[in-house]
């Protein structure tokens, strides 16, 4: 199980970085999304995977008698997903706006020389 996740995280990071290095703005966005997902899975993996042992302890039990899943990584991932969702929503709107203003998807076209500003 772990090895699959390790490979998946590697692929997500590699393809994310590759997409970031492209000139297209949409690919930039896809790259950021892939990287974010890779980071979330990484936290999940490094938090330790415990199968079928929810982090809920019997009310009668006074002591930990078994290995339970760690709830912290899941809380972290949940927070990170919500945050990256917000950031990506903003990024999509921003890139849409750029497309309307510049009429191009190429990052190299973002060089309007403007010396005068408020």
């Amino acid at each position: 199980m772990e090895i699959v996740l390790v490979l998946l995280i590697g692929i997500l990071y590699a393809s994310g970085i590759f997409m970031l290095l492209r000139r297209s703005m949409v690919k930039l966005l896809i790259g950021l999304t892939l990287l974010g997902n890779g980071a979330n899975l990484l936290i999940f993996l490094l938090g330790g995977i415990t199968k079928g042992k929810p982090p809920v302890i019997d009310t009668a039990a006074k002591l930990f008698t078994d290995v339970y899943a760690d709830p912290v990584p899941q809380a972290l991932i949940l927070t990170a997903i919500v945050i990256s969702f917000g950031l990506q929503a903003f990024a999509i709107v921003l890139l849409k706006r750029v497309y309307v203003l510049v009429n191009s998807d190429d990052l190299d076209d973002l060089n309007t020389p403007e010396e005068e500003d408020i």
Binding site: L20, M25, L28, L32, L35, G36, A39, L42, I43, L45, L46, G47, G48, D70, V72, P73, L76, T79, A80, I83, S84, G86, L87, F90, A91, L94, L95, R97, V98, L101, V102, L107, L110, N111, T112, E114, E115, E116, D117, I118
Partner: protein
């Protein structure tokens, strides 16, 4: 010692932001509320600093969960002085914004977002939990995205794309670092991490993890190979926004670097060399960029990069004297960089341009105002006895003691280039006659027709920050006391760790 005062700087800004939201279309009320909120925040920050300075480190365990399990908030002298400086800058900028920001921007929520940004900054300075630090960073960047794009002019939007992409990338690296850190230690509390990482056998693994933090915070604070987004975006938003960004946003990255690399990852030979090499290149590239630029705000943007190198170099040397110098520089830099962008905005108001070739004759027309600006610009250069001079003595002393001659060379080049750039700016903007012979239309003066009250609103914040800068320069012995105290705490973080963990472990 548990104390709720600790969280007030965050709450005051949250409250101000929410109240301004209720006055969505009423820009006058928003301005008044924003200024009042900033004054209250300043009072609370002064109180917090005084408490920490006299009574020692304050902690607050969120919802009463004990230290390594819950989220801790910690105010040591470093955090509380950063909060104090943020409140000074925040007050100046909110005063300046009252006339310096166009009404159209205020109608779309300039003030609420501005206070959310300050809330994020204060939160980042006060938190003692590394994942919580990540969350505060996200609060900061989402607020800064909005401030950056608000107004929606073409250049601004283009600058925002670079800013947005690099900042999200930085956050992802930071998150990756946190993930690995949690994997190897099983904790997120910074004090607890300090103990667990210190006890770890596998130092190579620690170094690799540290690199993720160098990259993450390096992008945010514009360190050498990762600084390109800064000069291509900071000249685009309104000057009030650029002032907060230039003064505080890069410095929160520096704060995080100092915190992480003195508490969790103690610089060993490898990290120390890495930071020093990065510092040298940061100083040099920033320098070369500043020398060739002609737009005032672009010049200041490159100077930010250059001076970030001084602080990273001080952290890399990691001796008590070096840290003292770097921290002193950090304190001075926050106020001076905020102020220099405000000045750039004022020059834009006076002349309608920021191009140094088109400017001129400001000294003849506004002698007193020019003298005020001179204080700030000369502090930036570090002409003795102004504030930029003292930290360099410490940095040189530390460099000679530990034989980091290349870094000393870079700092000397950086200082001379700053001197050259500012002299050049002074000659072109203030002394040279204004040339209008190029056939262009006469430049507009938005400043003269203003009422006295509006003029005062523009000049007072600059004078306020200049006065504090003067105090840092002339009252350097008091500032030295504070920074030496912080440097000692950084070299020996056990009081911090004890304050977070110790008092809560015992019943």
């Amino acid at each position: 010692m548990t104390d709720n005062t600790l969280i007030f700087p965050v709450l005051v800004h949250l409250f101000t932001a929410i109240v301004t939201l209720f006055f969505w279309r009423k820009t006058v009320s928003q301005r008044v509320i924003s200024i009042m909120g900033s004054v209250v925040a300043m009072g609370v920050s002064i109180e917090l600093f005084a408490k920490v300075w006299t009574g020692g480190i304050l902690t607050l365990q969120a919802a009463g969960w004990d230290a390594p399990f819950g989220i801790s908030f910690v105010a040591d002298v470093f955090s509380s002085s950063m909060v104090l400086l943020t409140s000074f800058s925040g007050f100046a900028v909110s005063l300046y914004s009252a006339t310096g920001v166009a009404r159209g921007r205020m109608l779309y929520g300039y003030f609420p977002i501005f206070h959310f940004l300050l809330m994020g900054l204060n939160g980042a300075f006060l938190t003692g939990d590394i994942f919580n630090l990540y969350v505060w960073f996200e609060v900061i960047i989402i607020a800064s995205f909005v401030l950056m794009t608000l107004g929606g002019r073409k250049a601004q939007i283009e600058g925002s794309v670079k800013y947005m992409a690099m900042n999200i990338l930085a956050s992802t690296f930071f998150l990756t670092g946190i993930g690995i850190l949690y994997g190897i230690t099983g904790t997120l509390n910074m004090a607890d991490l300090s103990l667990k990482i210190g006890a770890l056998e596998n130092r190579k693994l620690v170094d690799i993890t540290a690199i993720f933090f160098v990259i993450g915070f390096g992008i945010k604070s514009a360190v050498f190979p990762l600084y390109f987004w800064l000069p291509s975006s900071y000249h685009t938003p309104p000057s009030a926004v650029a002032a907060v960004f230039g003064g505080l946003l890069t410095k929160v990255g520096i704060y995080a670097l100092f915190r992480i690399f003195t508490l969790i990852f103690i610089p060993d030979d490898f990290l120390s060399t890495l930071l020093i090499v990065l510092a040298i290149f940061t100083i040099l590239t920033g320098t070369f960029g500043a020398v060739i630029k002609n737009n005032i705000r672009r010049v200041f943007s490159y100077l930010i990069v250059c001076h970030i190198g001084f602080m990273i170099g001080g952290l890399g040397m990691y001796s008590e004297i070096a840290l003292t110098g770097a921290l002193f520089y950090l304190f001075h830099d926050i106020l001076v960089k905020t102020n220099s962008f405000l000045i750039a905005g004022l020059i834009r108001k006076l002349r309608g341009t920021m191009n140094m070739d088109k400017l001129g004759g400001l000294y003849a027309e506004y002698p007193l105002l020019s003298l005020l600006m001179a204080i700030v610009l000369f502090s930036l250069v570090g002409i003795p006895p102004l504030s930029g001079f003292w930290p360099k003595i410490y940095l040189f002393e530390a460099g000679f003691m530990d034989h980091h001659y290349l870094l000393i060379g870079a700092i000397i080049i950086g200082s001379f280039a700053t001197l050259y750039v500012i002299t050049n700016l002074w000659a072109k903007v203030f002394w040279k006659d204004q040339t209008t012979a190029t056939g262009e239309e006469l430049l507009t003066d938005d400043f003269k027709p203003m009422t006295r009250f509006r003029k005062a609103l523009l000049v007072t914040p600059i004078a306020f920050l200049a006065a504090i800068t003067l105090y840092i320069g002339l009252g350097a012995e008091n500032i030295t006391l504070v920074v030496q105290h912080i440097a000692r705490e950084m070299k020996d973080p056990s009081p911090y760790v004890e304050a977070v963990l110790g008092t809560n472990v015992s019943p």
